[in-house]
């Protein structure tokens, strides 16, 4: 009986601790998402652009090699654009300190250009020029990320 009561007491404390931990985590993540960009978080957003541009290059290359059907190409680009939109929204909505404002504006432009390249590739099959366009965007994004967050 005493053991059972002690277990119940522990359970209450563990339940409260778990609830507090979940709340703290929620607040921490919300705060991290709402606060202005710093070098780390802007670097992460630009890395996402770089990753998507590099994936666009792979997709265009596979498309040129006739390794992917048209339905796959169009649907995958649709899914990529949905993810890209999240990053573009973040770049549009989050403030940046003056030291990072130009880099954030460059990242916005890269995001827009990447979206345009994806739309073009969805409409145009087997376009070798798309490979080069994505490659350039990936390189530009990589260079911008390295400038923002050299680590």
């Amino acid at each position: 009986m005493t053991v059972a009561r002690s277990r119940d007491g522990n359970a209450w404390w563990q339940g409260i601790a778990l609830g507090v931990a979940a709340l703290a985590l929620g607040v921490a993540l919300w705060h991290a998402h709402e606060r202005p960009f710093d070098r780390d978080t802007l670097g992460i957003a630009i890395s996402t652009l770089q990753s998507q541009a590099a994936e666009g290059e792979v997709l265009a290359t596979q498309d040129s090699a006739h390794n992917v059907p048209a339905a796959f190409r169009m649907a995958h680009i649709r899914q990529m654009r949905r993810q890209l939109q999240r990053t573009r929204d973040e770049l549009r909505d989050r403030d940046a300190p003056p030291a990072l404002a130009n880099a954030r504006d460059d990242a916005r432009r890269l995001g827009d250009a990447l979206d345009g390249a994806l739309v073009h590739t969805a409409r145009t099959a087997f376009d070798p020029a798309a490979i080069g366009a994505f490659h350039t965007l990936a390189e530009q994004s990589g260079a911008l990320r390295d400038a923002v967050d050299p680590e």
């Binding site: 277990r7 770089q50 090699a65 059907p69």
Partner: protein, 411 residues
């Protein structure tokens, strides 16, 4: 002969059901970000899931008790309830992510609207789980999940450096900034959790009872977990190789199932693409069913309701309602538009917090000679069991701070 066939099919089923969408993305990204430096975690996690899979299967075979029956008996009502709520939430989130990933896969084949595909996936699961027997579900999704072997072939064709892979079996902190090392820690915890996901033991032990195992099936249990999970780990290692050789040099972060399919098509062409999509479909669908059924198993076992596919739905009505509700709730979660891949990553990190709560009661019962008799843990099972219990407890404490400090695992 039928015993040999049963072992063979059991091994293949365990292998085919090893990878789900969270594990797929974590393995690919671990290879992409840290080359082979996290291979040791895959091996360690596999030994861990073998240890606790064996223990849960043995308890089910000898004592006829599934996991949440043990949790309630050993942890008491309130602590048990806490474990039940946490485990069910993690199962639901994982199930939601698998359903979302399946809709993404179907969209790749035909381009239909995502939300319509989510509804179609819900209908598919309700019909399949209602109509098929437990054995048929286990075999169909486990065996067809073996199409994921296409990733092993693709990884092989990428000619990975065996010496470098061998070096990855020894834990080494990567050079670089403190942030990068913290990200390594986050990936180590997440990979361990993704390999040792708690629903695997819930489903495995409940399945042993569904299949009416007895103490005579203990050798079968051992062979299936050791060989089946080890072969499953080969799939996971192949994904790390693809991450390192294909995604890493291009600095691509895998965030969609289509990214994984592209890696297969790059090596094997169009056939590789389709095989990868089909393999992922059966693997993710198997995981969705396992997590939904696990939610229902856990609740029914905790409250002592009749449960199991071996019963007619009207004889286990509350259990049947629970798995149906699990599918419906999981679908509603992804209907909100939340990114299923991002969600499963969070769910995997939270899973590690649930693991010690699940594994401690299993350890306590499995070493109890009064209950288990001659089938109680020997020194090896005890040593491995306690080692992994301590390890996952440390991982559970580190998981949330690492999640926050690495900006949700992004760097």
């Amino acid at each position: 002969m039928s015993k040999v066939l049963e072992i063979f099919l059991g091994i293949l089923t365990a292998m085919g059901g090893f990878v789900e969408v969270g594990e797929l993305t974590f393995m690919l990204n671990a290879g992409s970000q840290f080359d082979y430096r996290l291979l040791w975690v895959v091996v360690l996690g596999t030994i861990g899931i073998i240890t606790y899979g064996e223990i849960s299967g043995r308890i089910a075979a000898v004592h006829g008790q599934p996991v949440f029956n043990v949790v309630r008996e050993r942890a008491g009502l309130r602590l048990g309830m806490l474990t039940l709520v946490a485990a069910t939430l993690v199962c639901l989130l994982t199930c939601a992510a698998e359903i979302g990933a399946i809709a993404l896969l179907w969209q790749l084949m035909g381009g239909w609207p995502y939300r319509a595909l989510l509804v179609l996936a819900l209908a598919f699961f309700l019909v399949v789980v209602w109509a098929l027997s437990f054995k048929a579900i286990e075999r169909v999704f486990g065996l067809l999940g073996l199409l994921m072997v296409v990733f092993v072939v693709a990884a092989w064709q990428m000619s990975p450096d065996a010496a470098e892979m061998a070096r990855g079996l020894v834990p080494t902190l990567p050079a670089g900034s403190r942030d990068h090392q913290m990200l390594y820690g986050y990936y180590a915890v997440s990979l361990l959790s993704s390999v040792m996901l708690p629903y695997e033991t819930y489903f495995y032990a409940s399945g042993a009872i569904e299949d009416k195992w007895t103490s005579r099936d203990i050798p079968l249990n051992r062979v299936i977990v050791i060989v089946g999970f080890s072969l499953g780990a080969l799939l996971a290692i192949a994904l790390v190789v693809i991450g390192k050789e294909f995604l890493g040099p291009r600095e691509i972060e895998a965030a969609l199932p289509g990214t994984a399919a592209l890696s297969a098509s790059s090596e094997i062409g169009m056939a590789g693409l389709w095989l990868a999509i089909a393999g992922m479909f059966f693997a993710f669908a198997g995981a969705a069913i396992e997590t939904a059924l696990s939610s229902a198993y856990n609740i029914a076992q905790f409250f002592g309701w009749p449960w199991g596919k071996h019963r007619k739905p009207r004889d286990a009505s509350r259990w049947t309602l629970c798995w149906m509700l699990a599918f419906v709730l999981a679908t509603l979660v992804v209907m909100t538009g939340v990114d299923p891949i991002r969600m499963v990553e969070y769910s995997i990190v939270f899973s590690v917090v649930v693991l010690p709560l699940t594994y401690f009661p299993l350890m306590a019962l499995s070493r109890d000679r009064e209950v288990m008799g001659a089938y109680a843990n020997g020194p090896i099972a005890n040593a491995f069991g306690w080692f992994f219990f301590v390890l996952i407890s440390i991982a559970a404490v580190a998981a949330i701070p690492l999640l926050v400090l690495t900006h949700g695992g992004q760097g």
